[in-house]
């Protein structure tokens, strides 16, 4: 079977089929990525007349910037907090949805809706919903005659609030990605686990995790990558503030390049994000190396 499969396509046919995609990926993703990397070791910037090699100078500059240091600390906190809650909640909801019941497809649709809101629109929406007099946050305290909640975007609470809004928007997509995995577990495996008298935790360990391990890691990789590049989620809601408490490397990079017109710091800080994603991606490849492929 395997051998036969291999003979379906000739080498030439394989290359022809892959060519259109490869051309687009090389020109519009890999080329900017690599040229950007090379440029961060020079003094390159648009309209720069003489280009010379500066070694690690750009990297040193960015690392010494207090705002960038704060952004790195923030994004570690943000990624850890948001990704773990999104995974746990998404997993739980997909688990609850795994068996067919009346109204399941309606609930599935209802649980996907927040993901359809763009990050920008979500930022604008939360900006107003967290507002005290007309918003959602203080409606319930007011309804029950309780005292007003404190404004949630202060130095102490802004990061938690940003994490919560991201969890709101992304958990639905995580549920959506997990559900096919749960559905693909054969019914006999659940029945067997029940016959064996395994409790919920044991079912998780012996039925769910072995079957969904790779899917879990895959979703985790996508979520971590996305979180490390966070930009839109804070653009509308906090603008990185108050001070630098919600500043992310993605927002720092964008502001440097397009607001402060400091191309070198912008592109260099962007490469710290690439580096982090490559480390996470390498770990993913290492962790999934023993699983089968078709």
């Amino acid at each position: 079977m395997r051998l036969h499969k291999a003979s379906v396509l000739s080498n030439r046919q394989f290359l022809l089929l892959v060519l259109p995609l490869a051309a687009i990926l090389i020109l519009f993703l890999l080329l900017p990525l690599v040229l950007g990397f090379v440029a961060t070791f020079t003094n390159y910037a648009p309209f720069q007349t003489t280009i010379r090699f500066v070694g690690l100078g750009n990297y040193r500059n960015v690392l010494q910037d207090g705002a960038f240091q704060a952004a790195v600390r923030n994004v570690v906190y943000f990624t850890g907090g948001s990704v773990s809650v999104e995974l746990a909640l998404g997993f739980l909801l997909a688990f609850a949805l795994r068996k067919p019941f009346r109204g399941r497809s309606l609930i599935r649709f209802g649980l996907l809706l927040p993901w359809l809101v763009s990050p920008v629109a979500a930022g604008i929406m939360w900006h107003f919903l967290l507002n005290t007099t007309q918003g959602l946050l203080n409606y319930f305290p007011a309804l029950f005659g309780l005292s007003e909640l404190p404004y949630p975007l202060t130095i102490e609470t802004a990061m938690l609030t940003v994490i919560a809004t991201e969890v709101w928007r992304k958990t639905p997509f995580v549920t959506f990605l997990f559900l096919p995995g749960f559905i693909s577990i054969p019914a006999e495996q659940w029945d067997q686990a029940r016959v064996d008298g395994l409790g919920l935790l044991h079912q998780m360990r012996h039925v769910v995790f072995p079957a969904l391990r790779v899917l879990l890691l895959t979703v985790m990789l996508l979520l971590i990558g996305d979180a490390l590049g966070t930009f839109e989620a804070i653009l509308m809601l906090t603008g990185g503030g108050p001070g630098t408490v919600t500043l992310t490397p993605g927002f720092y990079s964008y502001s440097q390049a397009f607001k402060a017109f400091n191309w070198r710091d912008g592109a260099t800080s962007g490469w710290f994000i690439v580096g982090a994603v490559l480390i996470v991606g390498g770990s993913y490849i290492w962790l999934t190396r023993h699983s089968r492929t078709p």
């Binding site: 609930i107 920008v120 604008i124 007309q134 990558g225 590049g229 839109e232 962007g270």
Partner: protein, 273 residues
Amino acid sequence: MTFRFRSFVRVTLLAGAVLIFNLPLVWTLLASFGVTPNNSTHPPQWMLPPTWDNYREVITPQTILKQLGVSTLVAVLVTLLTLFTSFLAAYALSRSQFRGRRLLLQGLLVLASLPVISYVIPLKDLMFVSHLYDTLPGVALAETALFAPLAVYALVGYLARVPTEIEEAARVEGATLRQVLHKIILPTAMPGMAATGIIIFVLSWNQLLMLLVITAHRVQTLTVMMSDFFTFERELEWGAAAAALVVSVLPVALLVAATHRLLEQFGIGGVNQ
């Protein structure tokens, strides 16, 4: 616990989750019609009656209708180009065995998880050099490169589950590769293609950062327009913002509502299982 009690608990929990996740959207919908609570009174008084004023204010030929058209055009182009290139590549990858194939697929996944900000700054310079800055083809190509890695990964998983007997028989009978793709593979892969296409459409519709950088005023999507309008420094009116928000979400919400059974065909677990 009896089976009935369990399923009652399950449905109650899920209904609660749907309610909590959608409450912010309900609030926004109400606000877009001018219905907002006044939380400084006890109990909160609701502003009534509902009006269309906010919609009348934000929907004008210059502000939203034009951008709706641009957003639709961009998302359709990106979806078609992504599906076309990804389908061919995914077919090739699902029907061949070679050393490093697995690593290639995982590499695509790492590319899919790479955030836009990590390469968009040099991309802007390349778009200028190639005269693709602020053009429709430029946006279509750049967004295709952004979304295709995920699409290929999903489609390889889908195509790997399609049995190969029929196409092999067709090849033995002398069918060309083009005929096999067109007459055999595409029809069977259609549900997976359509589901992947809808996901790409939504991702493209909501994309902001890349467009902020590689477009200006000629190709302005709804998402970019909203980010222009409502910068966080400027205080604005909630009702108008809510109306704009509803208009921006409605097209994709309707699309997904109409096709959500089909969306069950989308998955990224197929490759490794």
